[in-house]
């Protein structure tokens, strides 16, 4: 196995999926908890338009922060996200090929697909699928999206989410995330540890609770204004901001159980409205991506 770095893994996955007919996107430039929240997933899985995309997404989960002390946990980790819509029948085999591309000889490892369904109450979304276990360790979430924003989906998208730090750590046989190499000789630890520490301290101890409650109200209000103005994509960004403020308040221990239910509902209501309004806006445009095949050269492998 060649030397594996965080960066070599990203490059391999990007090339692999690009060769299989995926458009390579860039991360959304906002704080999100998962690659699923990128509009390239949450919005594109809606409606009849086909879609194939791959991208890296930094994912912030304030409550998972451990001040950079825990060798397995991060407050911000990176996902490599793939969406294939409609889900092709051979999707699992293609996925296994991506592991081979990473240098894994699958005959010498244990690969299993164990049931793991996914549900996001804040997005009104759920799907069914597996966690993929490599030698007993979860390296990928594999989900057939069934609903998003409360809307039944058809066609169905397959979502493949690689946890890239974990995968690198495992392939490089390192005992701590902070020991892996990012690339070009730079270590993940030296590059990121300060950030993990400071943001843990910020989210758990420092964040201004009152300010965040006010931000939640303000962001929510702005999202609603955007809906009124018929601007669903800006509305969606404000919704994402609400979601991150909620996560921050949650990590700060500022939300009681009763409040929690209420805030989740507020965010979900926005997400549901985004989904509905996005679908309507695409329909008004005549679902432009339905014409993708004639506009672009065919995929090499798909």
């Amino acid at each position: 196995m060649p030397r594996v770095s965080f960066q070599s893994l990203i490059l391999t996955l990007q090339n692999f999926w690009a060769e299989r007919g995926c458009m390579i996107e860039t991360p959304i430039d906002l704080e999100v908890g998962a690659g699923t929240m990128h509009p390239a997933t949450f919005l594109r899985v809606l409606g009849p338009e086909p879609w194939r995309v791959g991208y890296v997404q930094p994912s912030r989960r304030p409550a998972d922060g451990r001040y950079g002390d825990n060798p397995f946990r991060l407050g911000k980790h990176y996902q490599f996200q793939v969406i294939l819509k409609p889900s092709p029948l051979e999707v699992q085999d293609v996925y296994l090929d991506s592991l081979r591309a990473l240098g894994l000889d699958l005959v010498r490892h244990d690969i299993r697909f164990e049931e793991d369904n996914w549900e996001s109450p804040t997005l009104g979304a759920w799907g069914m699928g597996w966690q993929v276990l490599l030698d007993g360790m979860e390296i990928t979430q594999f989900t057939y999206f069934q609903q998003a924003g409360g809307i039944d989906l058809a066609p169905i998208s397959a979502e493949i989410t690689y946890g890239i730090e974990r995968l690198t750590m495992f392939l490089a046989r390192q005992a701590s995330i902070f020991d892996i190499e990012w690339g070009a000789g730079f270590g993940y630890g030296p590059v990121r540890k300060q950030e993990e520490f400071e943001f843990s301290k910020y989210y758990f101890e420092t964040a201004d609770v009152d300010l965040h409650w006010r931000l939640l109200d303000a962001y929510e209000g702005e999202a609603k204004r955007c809906f009124e103005a018929g601007l669903v994509l800006p509305a969606y960004e404000w919704t994402l901001k609400c979601s991150h403020v909620f996560n921050t308040l949650d990590a700060r221990g500022a939300i009681s159980v009763t409040e929690r239910v209420g805030v989740i509902k507020r965010v979900r209501d926005l997400a549901v409205r985004c989904a509905q309004q996005y679908l309507a806006s695409r329909e008004a445009l005549g679902f432009p991506l339905l014409r993708r095949d004639s506009a672009a050269p065919a995929a090499t492998h798909a």
Binding site: H109, D110, I111, A175, T258
Partner: protein
Amino acid sequence: MPDYFFEIVAEEIPAWMHDAAIATLQESLQRLCADLGASGAHVLVNSTPRRIAFVLPSLPAREEDRDQEVKGPPKKIAYDASGNPTAALEGFLRKNEAKPADVIDSGDEYIRIRKRIAGRSTDERLGERIPQIVESLRWPKMMRWGNGEYSWIRPVHSVVSLLDEVPVPVEIFGIRSGTKTVGHRTLAPRPIEVRSYNDYVTKLELARVVVDALRRRHVMAERARVLALQVGGTPSLDATIWAQWQYLTEYPGVVRAEFRKEFLALPEEVLVTVMRVHQKQLPIRNESGQLTNSFLAVIDNEADPDGNAAYGNAFVTNARFADAEFFYETDRRKRLEDRLEQLSHLQFQEKLGNYLEKTKRIEKIVATICHELKVEERDVVTAAHLCKADLVTEMVKEFTDLQGKIGGIYAREEGCPEGVWQAIYDHYLPQNIDDELPRTWGGAVVSLADKIDTLVGFFSVGIRPTGSRDPFGLRRAAQGIVQVLLNRDKRQVRIGVDRLIVIAAHAYGGEAERIKPDLLEFIAERVRTLLETSKYNLAYDEIAAAMEAGWATSLTDLVDRIQALKDMRDQANFLSVLDSAKRIANITAGHEAGRVDPKLLEHDVEKRLARHSEELGKQIDELISERQYRHALETFAAMAPELEKFFDEVMVMVDNQAVRQNRMSLLRNIGDAVKRVADVTRIVVDRRDYRA
């Protein structure tokens, strides 16, 4: 007689769904065989994570031909005056390809013919029925894929359908059947041509797939035993894990790994839960039963030559334990007592307040029970006081299924007496019918208090299970109460369900008592269900008869009365008990019991019966107070001849109202005496059983 072989390859089906799905499938296939003329055939169904295969053996090649009567036009328009067929009859015959000679004498006003219907071939019928059966298989959760037009447990990839090597074309979710299956996903991912089930099993074995789930399990069990032995231990016997493992691999294997020894300092319950529930791994114990740092994990391969799976499993388990250790150390910086305040931020139910309030109610209930049963209350009330504190520990937030146990462990480490920590530890028990009861009397009381508080609370805000939906586990709570109260060893809690409800309602402020009738009926249903299960194995009618005489003051007493009925039922004189009771019930229906006026008694038989009934009443009362229910029923049975004589010689329904009323009261008093044991009229008997 040809065999039919079918295989469907799908994406990985969740392990826990296999057994139920196979049972359902087996049932539909058994019915199909009967329809095809092969009733009693043994249908073989097997499955792996990715495939379901079955064989319908020895099917007839075709359905038998049969005759069918077809109704035609009325006779009066079928023939003309000279007896020749009319156009109406000819048209009917033509349509059915029949001749005038085929008309049979039907005996009614219509023309009928007998028509020979050719039996259809089995492959044709299979082609029709198999897709229906497979596509309509219900799974606990269904999903769609691709364009979203089909719904099943997972996407379907290929189908093989053969009747004695000859393809029977079927189409399932748009996939046409063929003769090819596929080998193991990574070890032998190639198409394989198959001719029959035996051929299939052999070829798949070479392609690293063991089709038979039981064989996979045996292979893994043996491997597990050997691997554990190598480190001087034995794998935990754990049916849940084995049931999952057999459906997590196509090519069964087990690997042993070691976690870091220092984690053995963590509570054993935490280690075991992480391994079993979160990692689906089997702990290994040494000769003296202690946990070792070795464990077993399932792999989908016969061996792990490079040690990759051992490395990976150790890696994940160490990571999990590192988290657990962090939680454990954080938690122990704060005593349980000091966590109670935090419980006020944890909602129990929107309208029922938070867990601190629940805790206070549980304490009250426990204190009242102890007081009423005259038991020293200190430890039990302390346990109640602390029983929910672990809900705000990091450990329980992460490993919810350890609630109670974690509280117990922390209480033990804080130096609480055994009576306290064990009651906390056990108070969620029993969770299901086979579960253990709390190991102490105090634990049983805290368990009862917690559960009755939940039931009274939810019922009083109008939440109760509907159909199969019971999101708050109210049925389980009710059943837990019944299980605890049925127990008779040193942990027995001598209290009735009705009293429990009143005490719990009082803890809510008393107003909740209005839900008592509903809640009693809800718990009565659990009593009936539980007593009928194989664990207690009591008959439905005996339970109903005895419950009619009361159950809510003591469940053990109820069981005693059911037992008396059960014993008595096999005796010859039981029929006389039953007949007498039924006759009394019929004749006195709607009549209120009253005093018997001796002056109104006319016949000798009647006077004698009145005298005896008084004695009988006293005797039965005494026997009941001594819980001699069998004797009470026998005493009643002894009255039978006299009753019979009474019915023969004395007319009850006379015109004189006073006399009539008096006779009814006499009978009613006798009937009511036995009703204190059971309403025997509810017993269903087959009289043939009683013939000598």
